[in-house]
Amino acid sequence: MDFAFFILQFLNGLASASSLFIAACGLSIIFGVTRIVNFAHGSFYMLGAYFAVTLAPRLMESINPFLGFWGGILAAAMIVGLLGVLMEMLLLRRIYHVPELFQLLATFGVVLIVQDLVVLIWGPEDILGPRAPGLKGAVNILDQRFPEYELFLVAAGPLILGAIWLLFRKTRFGVLVRAATEDREMTDALGINQKLLFTGVLFLGASLAGLAGALQIPKEPANGFMDINMIAEAFVVTVIGGMGSVPGAFLAALLIGELQAFGILLFAKSTLVLAFLAMAVVLILRPQGLLGKPAVNTEHSEFASSIPLRPWPRWLVLAWLGAIVVFACLPFVVDSFTLKLAIEVMVFALFAMSLNLLIGLGGVISFGHAAWFGVGAYAAGLLAVHSHSPMLLALAAAPLAAGVAAALVGAFIARLSGVYLAMLTLAAAQLIYAIAFQWTGLTGGDDGLVGAWPDAWAKSRVVYFYLTLALAGGAVFALRHIAYAPFGYVLRAGRDGPARAEAIGINVAAARWVAFTIAGMAAGLAGGLYTFSKGSIDPTVLSIPTSVDVLAMTLLGGVHTVLGPVFGAAALHLLQDFAMPITDHWRLILGGGIIAMVLAFPEGLVGKLRSWFMPAEETP
């Protein structure tokens, strides 16, 4: 590689580092003060681009090109900042005290709503933006052409960093933000109005995201995928930099930007692999990120529970046996379509149960559980489609492949906790998604795999129903058994008091790793069963929305219930199945539903029922 090419590639890396930093630093600032990981940060970014492509051309026509363009960019950032304020006042204010997983879910509800609103307002087509006046050309650097706008971006990142530095050092607002990032309660006790401060922080963070999105418009059209594409990268940057640290985010953005600029020469397609590997290395060396501080409150999980697990009363055992018998009679009374629905409900019940092993028993917040479902689904599908192996062999391979993958990823992340772990599981899932999406030769890419049908003996839907009932049902009860087995006690001890559990000789990280692997296997089995029930799969089984679906199922059922997720899966899947055909705006409904669920009952459906039927001993 010659010198000029090296320099240009380096400049390209700097330009993407700038974009990445502007997009990610607001996320870090918002997290630092509010302790909320704001999924909707990607939505702010996307909205910034949409507002910019709407405003800039009109202003360029009515004022003048230069002022119009930059005025449009700034106006877009300000509007998005105000939307951030709106979100803080309407939603975040109500959820500062709920467990972090619910916060993540609620902000993901906002993501879904914004996705539908964007289509409603701007339509489904990409919208091209204007080029920046005065920066349309290219400059010669060592006899190579380099776009002026990229050069501008190279400067923009450090400029924004400098502006934030001044804001944080020289203004009272900035000093308060830094103080609250360190010790929020203390600022409260010193007379600082938390609500005003948080609203201000949301304005700052959201307008930075909006600015980042608006600055993209000369490079790429505003489109409906900007939000999810950006948020995974922004998570990686904030985690590497250290949550809440702006200079850390800058360093991390430089690292990722340059890694991608040069990594593209090595692995043309999977630059995300490099980003993930960089993150893994950094977190192994420094779990709190480059410039982050170790988490203060690691004493217990947000999902610590004071509810004891009690053996089932006789009536409940009988009720379950009765329910299973009734369910097993379904093929005699319902039509084929309902039977297909029943099969899917069983698959998702197992999927949700496997996640609850992590969340409910282990206190481990996984935000990328679809990865293991998808690995199982693809393992079974690949065997069936490419090597025509018998269905049972493919079904056996599904949990094995998912278990191996989960064990590998789990080895990196079982040592972490809280939001770091949640963001890492999400990043890992995005990585696996990218592989499935980009390795077209093997996986069929976006089209997926077609023709993974059950063997002749199981072709009948009734037979497949009983096969699913046996496998998924068996796995569900095996997972239930873990809750009452010694390993379940170990997991719960690690959840409720990691330090105390370590002190009596429990290796909490190892227990979590084993749980991660088991949960991966169970999700993989669910994925395998799913493949043969549909006959085809595509990368959506691995995507973030699938992870969110299963989370919503688990939480709807209640994380501190043993079999609650089974009901959550049934309720949500049936709801989706009925709602999706009758409306174009199911994301709007799902998003609103998730937010309503978080606000209404954080203990879940079954948790609610239990508190009615099996009241715990009175606590004063």
Binding site: V175, A179, T187, D188, L190
Partner: protein, 240 residues
């Protein structure tokens, strides 16, 4: 009760829980304007929880906190602070990456109609050590300096009552002595102080009245001199 004419802070039948654990069992206490009183007791007696309940940082399950004649329980901590209750927490909790000046800035609040306004310069007269390290970050300061900064930071809000949670804990004896002198100076300027302490000598250097607390209940109330005289009380509630 030997109540003086002008009660600035009154706590009535305060009950507080941490989860299911009942920490405070009906605390009653009063602080007169310009007075320094100590809430003295062993570790875990409920001293810190009492202060946090007054400040709104712990939500009491029952009881009342009355400040300047107004019921304040149920208000947010920042509202309570702005009314004139200054809180200096246990372990100081200074903002470690902020400089001395910035720490003071966080605490700054002008109360309408107050005459004695604290400024950084006036605080540096009270704690001369701090004057030489205005631009130093708090994580580069000694424990004693951090404690002085924590008190100064709270004074920047111009409080009329100072709630102090074990300011002598973990400090060298010579620092404790100068701390006591500084606090005595504050009382002389008219500030009311409610001090939580285990260190009897330190408390005696500042306070004129004492509440003895054990397992979340006030066991004795009287003058500081009475507590100093009665070995039986000290043996029962303070000796370790």
């Amino acid at each position: 009760m030997s109540v003086s004419e002008d009660v600035i802070l009154k706590v009535r039948d305060l009950n507080a829980y941490y989860g299911a654990a009942h920490i405070l069992h009906g605390i009653n206490l009063e602080l007169s304007r310009g007075e320094a009183a100590v809430l003295i007791g062993r570790n875990g007696a409920g001293k810190s929880t009492t202060l946090k309940s007054i400040m709104g940082l712990v939500r009491p399950a029952a009881g009342e906190v009355i400040f300047e004649g107004d019921k304040i329980n149920g208000l947010a901590p920042y509202q309570i602070a702005r009314m004139g209750l200054g809180y200096v927490p246990e372990d100081r909790r200074v903002f470690a990456t902020l400089t001395v000046s910035e720490n003071l800035e966080v605490g700054r609040h002008e109360r309408p109609g107050m005459k004695a306004e604290w400024t950084p310069d006036r605080l540096f007269e009270l704690f001369p050590n701090l004057a030489e390290m205005r631009e130093r970050t708090a994580n580069q300061m000694s424990g004693g300096e951090q404690q002085m900064l924590a008190i100064s930071r709270t004074l920047m809000g111009n409080p009329s009552v100072l709630l102090l949670d074990e300011p002598s804990e973990g400090l060298a004896p010579v620092i404790v002595e100068s701390m006591a002198m500084a606090l005595r100076t504050l009382v002389d300027t008219g500030l009311s102080i409610l001090l939580c302490e285990q260190n009897l000598a330190f408390a005696a250097a500042i306070c004129t009245r004492a509440y003895v607390i054990e397992t979340g209940q006030i066991r004795h109330e009287g003058t500081m001199n009475e507590l100093l005289d009665r070995a039986d009380l000290r043996k029962a509630y303070l000796a370790v």
